[in-house]
């Protein structure tokens, strides 16, 4: 299985080339093309069976969280399937080698089925940031494709570095972190900076050069009010 990207950083497409028998899992709604050898299977990411599906449906209804991930199976021969996120921006492919990665949920695009996803990761329980943010823990082995709003910059943290929560794509959990205000309470209230995440230790951090919520707020404030 090979993951490639094209047309980045503005309008990146993720191209997955599968050998016969390979599978790739992707965020629901992300599929752009699939060839004749690929068959799609849908599964709920909230857990197995009917219970998992209901739980997933509940989350979708109440939290607006998408819970379905689809599996694309190159059943009858080698095949190609492509994926794209909703917003313009770059896609990075990260090779998982048994370590963990903490991913901002909307950045998850696709992965090998050997990359497991834990959606109930509790590390960020109090981490609501601007708007609603969910975090997932990826672990296992194989390629993991993450999408961003804007370009992606890799930052090697050695010591401390602080990032606006809306700009975080993913980070290696060798980094510890704490959620902070920017400056004083006065600053938090008036600075428009919201919450920031102060990372400590040694590890890689991936950030996106645009903040989806900030963009939404800016455009939203110029659009006519929604009726009802």
């Amino acid at each position: 299985m090979r993951f490639e990207t094209a047309f980045g950083p503005g309008y990146t497409l993720c191209i997955c080339r599968l050998d016969q028998g390979d599978k790739v899992v992707a965020e629901s709604g992300a599929m752009v093309t699939q060839d004749a050898h690929i068959r799609m299977e849908t599964s709920a990411s909230a857990g197995k069976g009917i219970g998992g599906m209901l739980k997933g449906l509940g989350r979708k209804m109440f939290l607006g969280e998408s819970f379905f991930r689809n599996t694309f199976h190159a059943e009858t021969g080698p095949g190609e399937v492509t994926f794209a996120p909703k917003l313009p921006g770059d896609i990075m492919v990260y090779e998982m080698r048994g370590q963990d990665m903490i991913v901002q949920q909307t950045s998850y695009l696709a992965a090998a089925p050997t990359v497991e996803i834990e959606t109930k990761w509790g590390g960020f329980k109090s981490f609501f940031g601007e708007g609603r943010m969910f975090w997932i823990r990826a672990f296992g082995t194989g390629p993991l494709a993450l999408n961003a709003f804007g370009a992606i910059k890799e930052i090697q943290v050695d010591g401390y570095f602080t990032i606006d929560t809306g700009h975080i794509v993913a980070f290696e959990p060798t980094l510890s972190f704490s959620i902070k205000r920017v400056g004083s309470w006065f600053s938090t209230f008036f600075s428009s900076e919201g919450l920031v995440c102060r990372f400590a230790g040694s590890g890689k951090l991936f950030i996106q050069t645009r903040n989806p919520n900030e963009f939404g707020t800016l455009i939203g404030s110029k659009l006519p009010p929604r009726n009802g």
Partner: protein, 232 residues
């Protein structure tokens, strides 16, 4: 101060490295990341000093907020005593960033929503663009940026630098900034009928010599495109 701009023109981000004792002032909400221990001070944009100056700044900010929709506050980031620091900044919209070094001999007029950051001995004053500018599709305010130091401006889309030699006409929504050696006059695209029907809105007529920066897209254009397509 050292700076680099990456990921332009679509998704530019500026990395600003401060030496000990330096600081940078950033438009509220535009800080992406920073090194450890920076002191952050939030204040109202504007440079008037003293008690009455502060009141004038505040009133100016209020007027700006309600008429122009621009941000009220800026944040100043300063590294800890005797240490360097790093600040990453990016605007909300897709587009480029340019760094402009002011040498103290000329000032720059900047569309208020294009201000991203400033450092060194740069002063920023607000100027109301006149009633016409309220209909220009951009903010109603201009910033007069002067002094010697660094200025970062952001734009929606790519940025083009024009060396105006004599006369030049630009749609007001596409102006990012221009040197004050240029004279300008805001006009309708023609007569009243043409202004209303041509879809060209207001234009800015420049004369003289100086640099002019224009953006290849406008926020007003984007909003105007989306609005009629929204479901009621």
């Amino acid at each position: 101060m050292q700076q680099t701009i990456e990921f332009g023109p679509a998704y530019a981000m500026a990395t600003i490295d401060l030496a000990a004792g330096e600081d940078v002032t950033v438009e509220a909400g535009s800080m992406v990341g920073m090194s450890d221990g920076l002191q952050v001070k939030t204040h109202i944009g504007g440079n008037r000093v003293g008690f009455f100056g502060a009141i004038l700044n505040f009133l100016g900010a209020l007027v700006k907020k309600f008429l122009g929709g621009e941000t009220f506050f800026v944040n100043t980031y300063k590294p800890p005593e005797g240490q360097p620091g790093r600040v990453l900044v990016a605007p909300a919209l897709a587009g480029d960033i340019i760094h402009y070094a002011l040498d103290g001999t000329r000032s720059l007029m900047v569309q208020a929503s294009s201000f991203l950051a400033s450092a060194g001995g740069v002063t920023v004053k607000t100027k109301f663009g006149g009633l016409k500018s309220l209909f220009s599709g951009q903010g109603a305010f201009w910033l007069i940026v002067s002094g010697a130091g660094d200025l970062w401006v952001n734009c929606y889309g790519a940025i083009e630098q024009v060396d105006v030699q004599e006369k030049y006409i630009v749609d007001t929504g596409h102006i990012v900034g221009f040197e004050d050696t240029l004279d300008y006059q805001i006009k309708g695209a023609g007569g009243l009928k043409q202004t209303l029907l041509s879809g060209e809105g207001l234009t800015c007529h420049f004369s003289g010599q100086g640099k002019l920066y224009i953006q290849t897209r406008t926020v007003g254009g984007l909003v105007g495109w989306i609005t009629p397509r929204l479901q009621g």
